[in-house]
Subunit: 449 residues, 2 copies
Amino acid sequence: MSLTKYQFRAQFRCTNESCRKTYPLHQVIYSCDSCGELLNVEHDIDSLKQVSAKEWKSEFESRFRSSQFPNASGVWGKKEWVLPGISDENIITSGEGTSHLYDASRLAKDLGLASLHVKQCGVSHTGSFKDLGMTVLVSQVNQMISDGVPIQAVACASTGDTSAALASYAAKAGIPSIILLPANKVSTAQLIQPVSNGALVLALETDFDGCMAVVKELTKEKSIYLANSMNSLRIEGQKTISVEITQQLGWKVPDWIVIPGGNLGNVSALGMGFEMMYELGLIDKLPRIILAQAKNASPLYESFKKGFADFSPVTAEKTLASAIQIGDPVSVKKAIRVLKKFNGIVEVATEEELANAAARGDLYGLYNDPHTGVALAALLKSVESGVVGKGESVVVISTANGLKFTEFKLAFHEGKIPNIDEKLKNRIQSCKPNLSGVMEILGKQLKKP
Amino acid sequence: MSLTKYQFRAQFRCTNESCRKTYPLHQVIYSCDSCGELLNVEHDIDSLKQVSAKEWKSEFESRFRSSQFPNASGVWGKKEWVLPGISDENIITSGEGTSHLYDASRLAKDLGLASLHVKQCGVSHTGSFKDLGMTVLVSQVNQMISDGVPIQAVACASTGDTSAALASYAAKAGIPSIILLPANKVSTAQLIQPVSNGALVLALETDFDGCMAVVKELTKEKSIYLANSMNSLRIEGQKTISVEITQQLGWKVPDWIVIPGGNLGNVSALGMGFEMMYELGLIDKLPRIILAQAKNASPLYESFKKGFADFSPVTAEKTLASAIQIGDPVSVKKAIRVLKKFNGIVEVATEEELANAAARGDLYGLYNDPHTGVALAALLKSVESGVVGKGESVVVISTANGLKFTEFKLAFHEGKIPNIDEKLKNRIQSCKPNLSGVMEILGKQLKKP
């Protein structure tokens, strides 16, 4: 099927309902110059409605994992829903999306669920879901440069997955990247991906907020493009995860989706993806959402307990789930809107709960990072409490690769995480170097099948 | 298209040309009980020839894009070529295969190549190409258990990627796994994946060869199934990489494939995949192969220089490419046969060459492990020497995820790898915490676009 006869369009629109000013996507702008609020990418839904739901599904299926550029990417196979105006030759892709939907059938059975799938966003080029959004941002910058917009570099303040994704995609494009980080608070190990990808990595004698302030000033100049999450282009890529999950389930919407939340951009994107499918008729119901927070950084949980009546930032305490150690989330308004619409709940996980839940999942073949641990712990608690019912279908979003968290895994199995009981720890056992030595230990452990 | 009307068959056959004894795949056997040689899986090619090359291509393409079990796996989408007799319900898959073929177009241009792609086998469930073979082995064991073969556990001697893959797939299947390793020679960090996946990990007071001897004794008993690479079931999964690469290139065979080699099972599998496609008419030429070895462990290079006239094992010296630090490769005979048939060459990389080649690739957006560094270094040397010609097309096999090698990346960029010049090292720079501080550094680095 050819969609070339249609004209699809998108633009920035101010999220302030009483402003709603619009801007073209090739303008270097991150917040409304009129009222200061954040922007969204708004699609011309009427033009997308010219294609039937059945045609969209068939088109997305035929493009999924196509070996041809750019449809080998799960994001760019849905280009009309993401950045309809971009020219293919400016797309910078590393095969993001199309991550496996891991069928944790044994665990589902043990929990009494109809099904439990884990969306493996960490099995991706830079090892986290950030690739989904960064391919869109860097491709759009590449388009703007080729259109003559004088952009010299892309920049962000970040200590983790965002900087890894930005540096890698920028390197692929041949665009310089700049990473600002607080000196003495971040180890080289946390930054070794962008260092390897040749980013200009600057350590500033300030805290993270200080770095954010400098990067905002730096990018005011417009020749350096801001890649932090206030840039809504990234959401456009991230929202494709909803389409992929639904497609991988044979266009069936699961009863529940569990997603860890810190800055809350990811749950906003998840919601936008499902809303778009609903509006265009690809699905006829929305899933319920469990937004999972680390108890040590759970401002949204506090708000949820009061029916989202109000929201107060907190000072986040240290958590093993370091990427969601955020007390004042940027995307809180968007997230609350989504949770209300999706009849969602917020659940929390203590350090002990998240660490043991990650380890429990590993015993079924996964290799969970602590953020996926937060999501799994929230699911276990919700099954226990009956909020998630027996026989329901669940998808857990795994946001990062466990290989990024070797220290966490080691500390857990060596019993060295402070103040928690590592109930599920495993250990390496000493054994005599012969058959009888092995059999002696095996005799205690193995049963006849 | 339905292939159910055909009967496809496979069996074990002794690789000794003067023996050629056969065994059914559900027999617990790893080497010929008559002559002691290794076994191969042999397919009934005549039955496969009943399907035309065009039909195979179209079938593989449509399955590759499937999100449904078991075709969401790149290995099981080619089931008839892998294990035709297995029942779908016994397949244990974690979405192996379908890894991205990364288009390193900027690097290709800089090297004067027509194209350069990197097959990202490390972006997979357990972070290495071993998943491709282990899904086959564990699925076959699962089939045998369900057929009543009294298997209690799977076992291997390994310190790295093999044990990670075995433990994960066994955990998914709910089959106990046993890992034997030499005590005091392997860190917990190297074993943290199987430890996390609940394997019984035993440390023996001996060296690696000692562990291999014990695991061979242990698995003689037949209720514990051997998962080391002498088990040829794994090759069946690994060979699908050739089909995937060719398919991802639009069924065009590249001029060259570069692959790192230690135990040499991987290059044997690569060759078998191309030979099978050639025999069944899917392709009409074979690629040339560059087998890349670390200079510190390069017995095959020594043999190659003498036209493969003979082969002598060596004592491998320490190399950053730890997984191919092997002086006496198990699959050397198979590998030499493949290299002769594919007009292949062997090239070596010093520690300095492999480390800098890995880093050079990173500057184009990759994140290379040291083994991929060996392959890239061999390519750079072959382009330099003119063996790989300007305008040729090249695919490099990346065997593992760079995220498994944080220490290597850190040591490189901190300039701490002994006795080498880290020419391409990058560093984190101190910067005053304000705009002018950043601009001062930027002014020296950025040019107007």
